[in-house]
Symmetry: D2
Subunit: 338 residues, 4 copies
């Protein structure tokens, strides 16, 4: 950490900063430039209250040198981590496709879609029983009933299943029904929920918040990992910008940045980014080309009857046509989709 | 609701939309322009799945006419609602100042600050016992211990007290200790938490999410109100933009927009928007001038020792100098700060 | 266009709107809902002053139905337009790679880079003689001297060359030296410059402004095309968002949106979006996978000595390694890079 | 400037950075931390190519310490600069109100509005003869004809007049007709135009670009001042964010930030920020309360007939009611509106 003093800071200001550094058990190093005095702080400053220094008289700026994450950092596992669930490896050479409806609506609906996407090559079935809806007047999901349907479809198809958990009180129940738990974008900084997910023994997909920086996404993963659960998968799903032609703006650059900074698998959700099924295929291919380890795609056999996110759900036909294209792109970048 | 058909939509497409409208118990009205066919939907469409129409073949766009909120709407209470708590009225002629530290740190700290801000004219004491921190390595708050301190300080000073609740499981406990509960920006769309807060009998301050639209803030309020608790106060605290000179960008325009669209009281948090105590006064004055019903200001007697948000906390001295200026601005716009 | 009246609009309000519609030479159609009156406007409303209606008493909202662009619209040329320059076709089956330094620095620099990128497969040489720099204290480009160097290198290598024009007074001179003129992001809405470029007989690349919507980019193209020059190429180069891990956020979703709405070729500039050469390759591959018709990549043989944009320039070695990967991705999506 | 080396940078990397620093005529200072080596650069680094260092092998980050602006900096004139034009001082104790129509439409229109706003207390008449319109099909302004009207109205009313200049070739002509020239938001980084305005002897208002940072606005001012014209006035007019309830988001926090960083007068344009006349008054009051030195307000006597920006133009009646409120707010913050 480097502390930049104001131009007119005096020796007393500098002295108080030095004292404070030492009070934190750290060492300091003063460097006097022509216009400013700069103080280097030696030692592990993560969690030592950078803000404290920023508040001191005469301090203009505090520049952190070390990254604020530890377990999520690439340095922690330079070769990259692979999250295994059943016979599927996320973060390995395969690009894993997860597909299914936005919301679980009925036995028949989920089973129809599951069979179709499995047939096209999806390895994991997505589907939500709890829906975070902007308006309280919209369909809120089937709840535990939906999870029972998911368990049944899992048995019939042999697919790995994943679903969203919203309420911290539901974590044990949801973990009982499914293979992978998902944290939605709106809950990315619901820290109590993250901590609870750190205590279970199931992989967790954490979606980037609509206005979360890449750094904040990594720190959210750190919340989970710090509690002991290291099987975390990061998901870029588009950020909120001024552009409205798509529902969100897919930050495809987040893929190479995350792969450099962290060892965790990174997947792309092209459906929420696009908000329109016409654009989902292009975004999915872009994600694979950029190096994503997986995709999370909304598929519905009758999108116009979907209770949620119909406009952005590709049809089962579109999905079956998209998969060979994704396979080709994966191969072009040295990866595989089986 | 108005449904705009694509230019090349045919009669079959139009027919299916009409059928679907009628299946929702609504009426339709067709209007054929020179280039497009447009279908008007007559009846209450809120919660009927606008998305469904958007997914149908031949549909280009769906334009909602009615606002999606009901109880929060200005139409519900055109004269504006006043939230009473103890002897204070929020939303009346008085501009209510809430002040105190970011985090409750100790008996002595809270009491010192409380006495000082009360003396300067603050009516309500703010202070958090549970802190949502971006990094798991930062101070997470004193928890219930902090709430006990707050109760003690409330007794000694007679101030009304408010604090943040993060974990849905803590709602009853927190409601037991304090007068007003606060939902932080990161939890604005934690819908389960909102529903729980709709069932208690204490006022709730809901802060706008960093990337939440004004409309989404109103819908979040609607989640609380729909469960029965109508004592909701909206708080603008800055949104996330590309500008980094301030921590967030205070959307002061949200004040007149919210006052027009909703009957709920609207307050401003200049501290989180500024992120730097030098700018807090200007933002606070701007908020009052724009028509805010209250202010939520972070104050600390020793900001350089604060465990949280030190840089944006004004000192007790700065606060006592700011209050007369705020009184003058309030008077200039026909309001009062006692 | 649809005009939505306020709930409490009276007959006089409606009457004045109808009068105004007719005064514009358009026809109207009234539709009375349960809560609102809605007025449909029949006829070509582009350029008739939508704002005028929005200002009338009793009007709540004005919803345009028709798109505001004409010549740039896909409808104008459904099969897509191909911009030919020399023996290269942009917008055809080939994905055209344009590469070269940010700024032209010297004979030797440009020639070295040109030979290298040509050898790797680039068809078009980029390089700027006029540099829009945020600070007046930074290198502003070699000016006409740079263009002379570019002409010399063009002769020696046979490459097609492109450069930026900033000052409207320089348009004829720049058009004299190079094959393609480029409008930078900061000038996307310099409308006088656009009009001037509409009068020349050279293709124009127009880069999306940092905060420009896709719709505004198309309208900027319309400014050029309206004057007669239809050889316009659109370039997505990243938009400004809150994320700072990359210099800009590449809006890869703009590619399918633009390909749907307009007939113009769409290229991607991964260099300015990335701001860091480590991420350029991933973004370039993502762009090709999403359907871009070309790439504009900054390459330098000695980036640490570059007078401009060194950090985001890939080395000539990196570029020669990237090209085969781009070829593979292009092939995967049914396109070709020779 | 501080150069942070990568964790695994070796002595050769460090050596090359040191060499490069010395080659720039600067001095270096090495500081070796436990995890990183950090190199301090001593001397004036503005304009020396920070990017160059960022591109060198082993360099992780470059942190500038000095601000990149010189003449615009507060340090250059700590007491603040006052721009005098006629008998009006902008940047002094008075808050100067500039008002008038978006576009000059006719003799009668401009004269009617001018008389009315003058009567209400406006000192300066605004009005544009050249209009930057997003679409080429919208009204582009009367051109020189409009400037002649403005000159006539200036004579009749004695008001100071200001207008926008868009085309660099028009600078001398526009400077001949009016007292103050305005650079619109879309041209804030049209650097050639800025340089030209640096050579004239008339004050220049420069509006912040829709996605420009405060720092970039100051650097745009620096472009003008560097050429010799120091009479520059900065204008905050709202930035582009995800929120659409207002046309732009007024960044009222820019006022105290700019007043701290620069000595230049700062004014607020509440009209373009609001985009809706209902919200203009609140934003204007907020601007004055935050410390603005002036306001730029769009006023029209018949907004529903305005050729431009009708929805955001307040009526002459609204303006005459607003002025006493603005006077009261100005007085509350120790300023005056005559």
């Amino acid at each position: 950490m480097i502390i930049v003093m104001e131009q007119n800071a005096d020796e007393k200001n500098v002295g108080r900063v030095i004292e404070s550094i030492e009070a934190h058990g750290l060492k300091s190093h003063i460097y006097r430039g022509t216009e400013r005095t700069v103080i280097g702080v030696i030692g592990d400053t993560v969690g030592t209250g950078v803000n404290g220094f920023r508040s001191m008289p005469g301090v203009e700026n505090v520049v952190p040198i070390l990254k604020p994450f530890k377990i999520a950092s690439r340095k922690y596992m330079p070769e990259g981590s692979v999250v295994k669930v059943g016979n599927v490896e996320i973060g390995g050479n395969e690009v894993v496709v997860m597909a299914g409806p936005c919301a679980i609506e009925s036995d028949e609906q989920l089973l129809t879609i599951a069979k179709s996407v499995k047939n096209s090559g999806a390895k994991i079935l997505r589907g939500s029983a709890f829906k975070p809806r902007t308006s309280p007047y919209e369909f809120q999901g089937l709840g535990e009933e939906g999870l029972k349907i998911m368990r049944k479809v899992k048995k019939e198809t042999g697919m790995i299943v994943e679903t969203e958990v919203m309420d911290i009180r539901d974590v044990p129940m949801v973990a009982d029904y499914v293979d992978i738990l998902r944290v939605g974008a709106r809950n990315m900084q619901n820290f109590d929920l993250l901590k609870e997910l750190g205590k279970i023994d199931k992989p967790v997909i954490i979606k980037r918040g609509m206005s979360a920086t890449i750094r904040e996404l990594m720190l959210a993963a750190e919340y989970i990992m710090k509690e002991g659960n290291h099987r975390v998968i990061l998901c870029e799903r588009g950020i909120r910008t001024f552009e409205t032609a798509t529902r969100s703006t897919l930050d495809v650059g987040a893929v190479p940045v995350l792969k450099q900074e962290t060892h965790l698998p990174v997947i792309i959700d092209p459906s929420h980014a696009a908000g329109n099924r016409q654009f989902v295929g292009s975004l999915a291919k872009a994600g694979v080309a950029a190096g994503a380890d997986g995709l999370l795609i909304e598929v519905h056999h009758q999108p116009e009857k979907a209770l949620c996110d119909g406009p952005q759900s590709v049809t089962t036909e579109m999905f079956s046509e998209l998969m060979p294209q994704l396979r080709a792109v994966a191969a072009a970048v040295g990866r595989v989709i089986e």
